[in-house]
Structure formats: structure tokens, C-alpha cells
């Protein structure tokens, strides 16, 4: 792989992204918005899995709801003019304002209570919930809750840390806690590579006072509910609004926080002011540098990215190895036309390839392997091994099918048995047909691992989501992530090409062919 070619590919892409990013004007808001009536017929953004869509439709007439997976995406969408407003919790709106000064609250439309969720109709969970409510009541009396509130809603950035030591290596039972650091400050977010926030500290304090160990699983917001319902996690929270409808499917604790729902719009005057000032003070490259510092340097976020890369590569490489073993052994079993093996394989390949990988992963994670307590990373490895195995199987079938049957006959006529003929004569020739396909499959494969965030694995894509939730900046982290993926793909392709060259008999030097033989 020559990297100059890669650079040639990436550079125009980056330049184009930069141009588009700065040139496309905000379009969705014509005219000023002064009241909820002005939002009629417009697009309003909400976080997937929250109750804000309902609240929005109740309060704003004839509105089109757009769903996003993280609050940073919502903030960016408002900046880009893709939505006219968004609806979110008051405290979250406040923290978004730290990064986007021109986002202003139009109106508070309801007041809400937030609580922790537990599995419904389960005696153990009910017991746990009871304990938790006791803890809340106590904390309210002894002032702990107020202290936590003051800490996370205050201004002292240095105080906003959580001491995990008491819940990490204790002797007690381990509770699994589902949360979503994509929700954002101050409830649950990433800081200095650690999960912090109001909800998380309450979970930690609860475990501390009852002697539990705590293990945190990080999902998308919508994933928290599935994880608790399936029993994957014991309890969960990330600014979850208590509603009557949700109470039907989940057991809620008493409220740990009361807030409200607000509609946020972009203040046109503030924007004009801000861009005017910015244009004078900071040039394009300076702001790029600033973004770089925010995304990678601040709070050592590069460590998060590094972790994401390690996770992405681990899942990709291990599933490629397992997938190749699965696909290859299955092909060997099916090779001689064994009817049972072939029909079983066909059904399995059909199932694995017939559904979106993300659905396969969630079925494995929540249903098939839900009770085993296997972590998301290993579930991802299993899921991707299956999909890669299926494509290796098909690749071998195609590759071997392309070999003239005379090759087999010639080997048989010389006295080779079927297995030897396959390994010595057929497979080396078939590799010319399937190795190029394998190479492009690997690139597809590494890209498709970007969905493992759905099952609480912090891969590269998920990390970029998390970082964006902190910086409320879309452009730089996304482009940086894209470039990192390019480099990882380049690396894997480089390795496969090496293997291809090493196994290619036709590329051997003549003196190697007769190595160790005396020729007269």
C-alpha cells in the first residue's frame, strides 16, 4: 500500500468537507421565532428514546419531529439550520449553552420528574428498587442529594469528579448500571476518560452505602431501556423522565431530580454578533487548531480515541480470524456435497446475511446471549465472526467454483485423494480468485463495526459520539474519525496484500523455486 495514493484520496475529500461545512447556509428558519405558534409546520429535534417527541406534539401544532441519537447532533443540527428548534431537559439545555451561546430557551413547556429504572415484574429488581428509594429518602434528609446537586449544577469544574474506589474492588455483589454518556452534561458524560455526572454519582453513592460493586455499561439513550428490560443490566438512568406510559413497562424509582422540558431556538441576533466577532478574531486555521485541542488534547481525549481504535481493531481483527476459521471449516465440511451440512449452512448463511448486522448484534446481545452476561465486545466479536464467516464461505464457494474441473481430474489421475487434491491443487488456484474479494470485504468489515455502539461497546465511532457530546462540535471530530478509519483500512489492506504476495507462487524468484536442489 503506498500512502501517497491514500493521501491523494483523502486530501480532496477533506478539502471538500471543509468547503461544504463552511459554505452551506442555514436554511430551515425563515423569519424570527417569538412564540410556540411560530414553530408551526417546522422541524423540531428530539433525542431518540425520550418522551420529548410526545411533549413536542402536545405543545406545538402541526410540527415535524426529527430524531437524533445524541444531544450534540441536535445542537449541530440547529446550528446548520436543519431544524428550527429542539426540545430537551432544562439542565441539558443549560450545558449545551456553554458551547453554543446563541442557543436560547424559547419557553419551558412542562415540568418533569426524573428517576432510575429497574426491571418490572421481577422480585429481585423490586427489592433493589426499594433499597434505592430508601437511599434517596435518606440522602434527601442528610443533605447528600443537595450536595451532589450543588456539585454538578455548580460552576466549579474541578469539583466535578467521582471517586470510584469504594465500588470497584469490594466484596459485595456487582450491580450493572446502564447509562448513556451521549446524554451529556450534567447527568452523564465523559470527562478525562471517566464517566461522570449527577446520575452516575447517585448510582455510585447508592452502591457505596449498600456495599455493592458497580459496573457501568454505556449505551445510546434508547439502549438503556432495552438493557434493563432484558436483564442485561440491574438498573439504569440517564436523565430518564418518569411517564405513565413508561411505568407500564418499567419500574421507576422515586424521582431523584425535578426539572422541566424546554424548547430551544437559535437567537439570530446573537449568531450574527458571534460570527462577526469570530471572523475578525480567529482565522480558519486557528479555529481548526482550537477544534483539534478540544477534540483530542483537552481532558486527554486522545486516550478515548486510542481506546476506541483498540476496540475497533480488536473486534475487526479477532472476528476476521474467527470468521475465517468458521467459514473455512464449514466449507471443508460442505465441500463434498454433504446434504445435511449444506442445508444447515444455507439456512445459517441466509439468516446471518439476511438481516442488518445491527439487528443481528442486538438480537445476540439482548436475546440469545442476554442471560450469559457476555460483554458487548465479545458479543460483537461473535456477531461479526458470523457475518465474516458467511462471506468467507461464499467466497470460497465462488473461488473454487471458478477452477476447471480438469484440475481435480488430473490430480485424481495422478493418485491424489480428494482432500490432498483440494489443498495442493485447487485451493492455491482458487486463492487467486478469492483473495481480491477478501481484501475489499475486510474494508467493508472494519467499516461495518461502527455500529457496535448499539450494544454498549466504545469503538471509534462511539467515542467520536461521546466526544461530540462534550464539545458540541460536529465537524472536526467526524472528519478526524473518517481519517482514522481510512488509516486503519489502509493498514489492514496492507497486511492482506502482503499475505497475498507471500502466498502467490507466481511471484517467487526463480532461485527460490528450486531451493535446496542441485541442478546440473
Amino acid at each position: 500500500m503506498d500512502f501517497s495514493r491514500l493521501k491523494k484520496l483523502i486530501c480532496p475529500f477533506v478539502v471538500m468537507m471543509l468547503l461544504f461545512g463552511t459554505m452551506i447556509p442555514a436554511a430551515a428558519t425563515d423569519g424570527e421565532i417569538n412564540s410556540l405558534e411560530d414553530l408551526k409546520g417546522m422541524k423540531v429535534g428530539v433525542l431518540t428514546g425520550t418522551v420529548f417527541d410526545e411533549i413536542t406534539q402536545e405543545n406545538i401544532e402541526d410540527v415535524e419531529v426529527c430524531y437524533f441519537n445524541s444531544n450534540s447532533d441536535i445542537a449541530t443540527a440547529l446550528d446548520e439550520g436543519k431544524i428550527a428548534a429542539y426540545v430537551t431537559d432544562a439542565p441539558i439545555a443549560r450545558s449545551i449553552k456553554n458551547a453554543h451561546e446563541d442557543h436560547v430557551v424559547l419557553k419551558q413547556i412542562s415540568s418533569e420528574d426524573y428517576g432510575f429504572i429497574f426491571k418490572k415484574n421481577d422480585s429481585q429488581s423490586a427489592e433493589l428498587c426499594k433499597q434505592f428509594n430508601e437511599f434517596l429518602a435518606e440522602s434527601r434528609e442528610n443533605g447528600l442529594l443537595d450536595k451532589i446537586d450543588a456539585k454538578w449544577f455548580g460552576k466549579d469544574e474541578s469539583a466535578m469528579v467521582i471517586d470510584y474506589s469504594a465500588v470497584e474492588n469490594g466484596n459485595g455483589k456487582t450491580l450493572r448500571f446502564a447509562t448513556s454518556t451521549s446524554t451529556g452534561e450534567p447527568f452523564a458524560y465523559m470527562k478525562d476518560g471517566k464517566r461522570v455526572g449527577f446520575d452516575i454519582e447517585i448510582a455510585v453513592e447508592f452502591c457505596k452505602s449498600y456495599g455493592y460493586n458497580l459496573e457501568i455499561d454505556d449505551y445510546d439513550f434508547a439502549g438503556i431501556i432495552s438493557a434493563v428490560q432484558s436483564g442485561m443490566d440491574d438498573f439504569g438512568s440517564s436523565c430518564i423522565t418518569i411517564t405513565e406510559e413508561r411505568k407500564k413497562s418499567m419500574l421507576f424509582s422515586d424521582p431523584d431530580y425535578s426539572g422541566g422540558t424546554v424548547v430551544v431556538i437559535k437567537d439570530v441576533c446573537a449568531e450574527a454578533l458571534a460570527t462577526g466577532v469570530e471572523a475578525e478574531e480567529t482565522g480558519f486555521f486557528a479555529s481548526l487548531g482550537e477544534s483539534f485541542v478540544k477534540t483530542f488534547i483537552k481532558e486527554s481525549r486522545w486516550r478515548l480515541f486510542l481506546n476506541g481504535i483498540v476496540n475497533t481493531m480488536f473486534i475487526t481483527v479477532v472476528s476476521i480470524i474467527f470468521g475465517t476459521i468458521i467459514g473455512f471449516s464449514d466449507y471443508l465440511i460442505c465441500r463434498n456435497g454433504n446434504k445435511v451440512a449444506n442445508s444447515v449452512t444455507n439456512v445459517l448463511v441466509g439468516i446471518v446475511q439476511g438481516m442488518p448486522v445491527v439487528v443481528l448484534l442486538m438480537i445476540l446481545f439482548y436475546i440469545v446471549l442476554g442471560k450469559t452476561g457476555l460483554g458487548g465486545t465479545w458479543v460483537a466479536v461473535i456477531g461479526f465472526s458470523l457475518t465474516f464467516g458467511a462471506s468467507v464461505f461464499k467466497m470460497l464457494k465462488t473461488g473454487v467454483g471458478a477452477i476447471d474441473k480438469g484440475q481435480n481430474e488430473a490430480a485424481f489421475a495422478l493418485g491424489f485423494n480428494s482432500t490432498r487434491a483440494f489443498f495442493r491443487v485447487i485451493l492455491p488456484q482458487a486463492s487467486y480468485h478469492f483473495l481480491p474479494i477478501l481484501r475489499s470485504d475486510i474494508v467493508t468489515h472494519i467499516k461495518s463495526t461502527a455500529i457496535v455502539g448499539y450494544i454498549a461497546v466504545q469503538d471509534l465511532t462511539k467515542i467520536s459520539d461521546i466526544v461530540r457530546t462534550r464539545t458540541y462540535e460536529a465537524f472536526f471530530p467526524l472528519v478526524a474519525t473518517a481519517i482514522i478509519y481510512f488509516l486503519l483500512e489502509g493498514l489492514l489492506v496492507l497486511i492482506v496484500k502482503k499475505v497475498q504476495i507471500l502466498t502467490d507462487k507466481k511471484r517467487r524468484a526463480p532461485e527460490k523455486i528450486l531451493k535446496g536442489i542441485k541442478t546440473k
Binding site: 476447471d404 480438469g406 484440475q407 481430474e409 488430473a410 490430480a411 485424481f412 489421475a413 495422478l414 493418485g415 491424489f416 485423494n417 490432498r420 495442493r424 491443487v425 492455491p428 488456484q429 487467486y432 507462487k505 507466481k506 526463480p510 523455486i513 528450486l514 535446496g516 536442489i517 542441485k518 541442478t519 546440473k520
Partner: protein
């Protein structure tokens, strides 16, 4: 190696190329299998080394039946070499490795031993300088010579050659044929399927003429080529162009008959004179003899044989009853039209009498 074939039969879902083959191939025999296309010559060869296991009958090799013992056949197969029409060299290996592979893998020789044998065989076919070339770099003739060298390197006791020159350009046929001629002198048992009659005559001590799934004629090359005993053999070895028609009753369709013989006459290269006389013989039989002299239950069959080399046409008229009146009539009708005519009585299932005319 001695091979016995007993009532050998091979059926495919949509064809039965071999219906009943019986033969004994003695040690040292060199047998050329000839016959029209699609009569199962290649299938017979592929049955002998079990590439296409027969569906019926038995094969004995040196007295041991192999048709009921497929499991242990692998070792025996090493003693039977096969040369394919399409060469089937292993395209991922060099010429020398193509030959060495089976020696090191199956005969467990060291690479040095294998190399020595391989290079010796390559020298015999005149391709030692191509040892490190890949098959795709070779001409068809060279590929077939390598394939023969690969077969010989295993030191087989029986060599099967399946139309070894059929896939070659005419310019390359000779180089492969000369290699096969040398091979024939080594005294190994060989069975070769070929369309090259010249090659069959030159190397074989026995000819199998295969037709419609059976060995129709089995004899020495002299016998089969110069004095074939049976009609289809004769037509085949002389490469005769044959026209056949059978009159069953006297109310046959003249138009159908006329269009068939016209097609035959026009499609074969004949001098204008012969064309005219052949046409008039054909017409006279249908218009004079059949309507006037053929009785209701009789059958008349005519066979025209054109020898493409001499351009001569031989006409055979078979008649199913030996009535002397009819014979005289036929001679009277035909003799003005042909150069010679002889008549004779024959003993056949269908016919009692035959007239042979040269046109």
C-alpha cells in the same frame, strides 16, 4: 498390466455412452480406440481409471476387481497414468513443479530425487529448458508434452491417452505425436483414444472400433483399416459419406425421398457426371422399380457410399425377396445407368438379395 472389461455399462441421466463393452487388454498391448463422436470412447477410458465409475459390469486389473473396491483404488490409480485432451497442467506451479508434486506428495521422494526424475522426463520430451516456465507461457503442444512427462514421471504400468492431439493446432500435432510414438516403443500398456487414423495405424497393435456403446470391431490395424469385417467399420475407416433409404411399401412419399437424396448429392463434392448418373439411379429406383415391381410385403433398401478420396460412388440395393423376376427387372433398369453391376444372394435378417453397382 492386464485389464478385463466385462459387460461394462455407463449411464448418465440423459445419455448412455457405454452399453455393453467386453474386452481383454493384455500386458504390453497398445490399443487405439476409434469411432464416431459421441460413442463413449473417452467415457470408456475414464471408466478404466474410475474417474467416471461405471454404472454396471466389472473391471479387473491384474485379476483384481476394482469396480467393487473404490476405497483402495487410490494406490492402484498411481499405476495408471492419464493424459488429457485439455492437458490439465496445474496453472499455479512451474513445469518442473507440476511433475515433482505427485512424486514428493504421493511417492514421498525427496525434492532432489523428484527433481532428477522430473528433469529426465522433461529432457525426453525436449522441454528441459522450460523447467521454470509456467503453463500459461507454453504453446499447446508444449503443454501436452509436459503433461505426458508428468504422467511418465510416476512410472505407470498403464497409460491412458484421451484424444491427446484434439485440442492442438494442426502445426503442433506432429511434435506431440512423435513423443507418443517414442512412448509406444517403451513396451508399456497403452490405450489411446484418437481421431488421427495415421497415429492409430502407426503405434497400435490392436484397434477397438467403438460404435453405439459397444466394441463393434476388434482387430489388428491391418484388418480394421484395410479389410474391415463390418459395414459401419468400413464406412468409418474409409471416411465414407453414406446415404440410406428404406422403401417399405410402394406408396411412399416421393417428395420426401427426393429432397433427401438431392440434399445428399448437393452436399458432397462430386463430379458433374457422377452427380447426374447418381440422381438418375435414385430416380429410376423410385419411379420404375418400386411402383411397378415391388410387392406389398417386400422391403427395398438403398445405400449410397461416397469415398471422398477416389470420388467414386458405390450403390448397394438390398431386396427382401429372392424372386428372380424382380431381380431381372432391377438389373434391366439399372444396368444402362451404371458402369458395373453385380448381384448376389445374402443371408441377412431382413434381406435375401443384394445388388452392388459402381457409378
Amino acid at each position: 498390466m492386464k485389464i478385463e472389461l466385462k459387460h461394462l455399462e455407463k449411464k448418465f441421466p440423459d445419455a448412455a455412452p457405454i452399453s455393453d463393452v467386453n474386452a481383454v487388454i493384455n500386458d504390453g498391448d497398445i490399443i487405439a480406440v476409434i469411432g464416431p463422436s459421441g460413442t463413449g470412447k473417452s467415457t470408456l477410458l475414464r471408466c478404466i481409471n474410475m474417474l467416471d465409475p461405471p454404472t454396471g459390469g466389472q473391471i479387473f486389473i491384474d485379476g483384481i476387481e476394482i469396480t467393487n473396491n473404490k476405497a483402495n483404488f487410490g494406490k492402484l490409480r498411481r499405476k495408471i497414468g492419464m493424459v488429457f485432451q485439455s492437458f490439465n497442467l496445474f496453472s499455479h506451479l512451474t513445469v518442473i513443479e507440476n511433475i515433482m508434486l505427485a512424486l514428493t506428495e504421493l511417492k514421498k521422494m525427496s525434492r532432489q530425487e523428484a527433481y532428477d526424475i522430473a528433469i529426465e522426463q522433461l529432457q525426453k520430451v525436449g522441454l528441459a529448458d522450460k523447467a521454470l516456465a509456467y503453463p500459461e507461457e507454453l504453446s499447446g503442444g508444449m503443454k501436452q508434452r509436459v503433461s505426458i512427462a508428468r504422467t511418465l514421471a510416476m512410472d505407470p504400468e498403464l497409460i491412458l491417452l484421451d484424444e491427446p492431439t484434439s485440442a492442438l493446432d494442426p502445426t503442433m500435432v506432429r511434435e506431440v505425436e512423435s513423443v507418443i510414438c517414442n512412448l509406444a516403443k517403451t513396451g508399456k500398456t497403452m490405450v489411446i483414444v484418437t481421431h488421427e487414423m495415421r497415429l492409430a495405424k502407426a503405434i497400435s497393435n490392436r484397434i477397438f472400433y467403438l460404435d453405439r456403446g459397444v466394441i463393434y470391431e476388434d482387430g489388428t490395424p491391418e484388418q480394421v483399416f484395410n479389410n474391415p469385417q463390418r459395414e459401419r467399420t468400413r464406412a468409418f475407416v474409409n471416411n465414407l459419406k453414406v446415404f440410406k433409404y428404406r422403401f417399405k411399401t410402394n406408396n411412399f412419399s416421393y417428395d420426401d425421398y427426393a429432397s433427401k437424396f438431392s440434399e445428399y448429392i448437393e452436399n458432397n463434392e462430386l463430379e458433374a457426371m457422377s452427380k447426374a448418373s447418381l440422381r438418375s439411379v435414385m430416380e429410376h429406383i423410385a419411379t420404375e422399380f418400386v411402383p411397378n415391381h415391388m410387392s406389398q410385403n417386400d422391403t427395398v433398401s438403398i445405400v449410397a457410399e461416397l469415398n471422398p478420396e477416389s470420388k467414386k460412388v458405390k450403390m448397394l440395393v438390398y431386396y427382401s425377396s429372392n424372386s428372380s423376376d424382380n431381380l431381372t427387372e432391377m438389373t434391366a433398369i439399372l444396368s444402362p445407368l451404371v458402369s458395373t453391376i453385380t448381384t448376389e444372394s445374402i443371408e441377412d435378417e431382413d434381406f435375401d438379395f443384394k445388388a452392388v453397382c459402381m457409378i
